[in-house]
Assembly symmetry: C2
Homo-oligomer: 195 residues x 2
């Protein structure tokens, strides 16, 4: 693996299993097996590395959302549940517990202390909500949403539900399966059964 890639993947793991602030450049260099000089060659700061970590996770999310894609309007909404499930059960298997959403974790920890990182993470959420809104509008056009459910509000509600469910599973040490069940409950309340 290339040095830069090794640093980013080590950071992704450490930020997820610990937190951004609790991991220092010394820890990162030790886990990635690189020297400090090499680290700073690729990343002028830990914040610059955090951006690369966000981009790594964002690329994985895009891959999962595309893989779970489907032309059927109802199925496209449930595909979002599948994408989140694959990612969260993957973390659960790797780390032995739900460790949070990579974006949500950084959003909660850094929004108040690093305006640039906040905007970078906000960009991921905005794009994700845009993708969701497309699926919701597609569902609305095909009469798949329950009466009175606005597609753009539903997109925001699904994204918030994903974040809230992951956070609750993390803090209560619940299994990732609870995230999947919770998302299905929201869709059952907003998408027609026959969909």
């Amino acid at each position: 693996m290339e040095t830069r890639d090794r640093i980013v993947r080590s950071a992704a793991k450490l930020f997820l299993t610990r937190s951004y602030q609790s991991v220092g450049v010394v820890d990162l260099c030790a886990v990635a097996d690189v020297r400090k000089g090499s680290f700073y060659h690729f990343f002028p700061s830990k914040a610059a590395l955090a951006k690369a970590v966000v981009d790594l996770h964002a690329a994985e999310l895009d891959r999962q959302l595309t893989a779970a894609g489907d032309d059927d309007p109802g199925a496209r909404l449930y595909a979002v549940v599948d994408a989140v499930t694959v990612i969260q059960t993957g973390f659960e298997k790797r780390f032995g517990a739900v460790v949070g959403c990579p974006f949500g974790n950084l959003a909660a920890e850094l929004s108040t202390t690093d305006a640039e990182l906040r905007e970078h993470v906000a960009g991921v959420f905005t794009r994700w909500e845009g993708t969701l809104a497309q699926a919701c509008r597609h569902a609305a056009e095909h009469g798949v949403l329950r009466d009175g459910v606005d597609p753009d509000r539903l997109a925001h509600m699904i994204l918030a539900q994903v974040q809230g469910l992951i956070l609750l599973a993390k803090v209560t040490a619940a299994p990732a399966a609870e995230i999947t069940a919770g998302l299905r409950t929201l869709l059952a309340a907003t998408v027609r059964e026959e969909a």
Copy 2:
């Protein structure tokens, strides 16, 4: 104000407007205007202080949930929206932005690094979900929930939505009013209109 109380309130403010890890005991002593010796007299560690901060916020949440209480089954659910709105618009006025949920922030930042604090915060969420579940069951018994909506699942869904909406508002620098609007959208999808 008593010294202990001054330390807890200063910590509550600093943890909310920055983060737990980014605030040191030295900062806390400076803002609370106490000496280190006095600090450690009341709190053996920053983690012990964090527990007291959680308890302070939990008491305020209880107060708001009780104040917003109502006998009408539908109104009792909407009262949860009012309680969250009062707290979040309060923070927005004080700090100039949505800074997150005091419990959600600590849950996201510390669940992976401090098992004892994780359990303490989880306790608040479990109690909060219990209160919500009571209101949801009361609503179900009075036929106020839409067909197929399970009261216990709805309680979990509302709590997750609260957390997710606050997190999204924080990271996208959106106004607290978006949290209120989002919660009303969820209730509109799950509670009968005539309620």
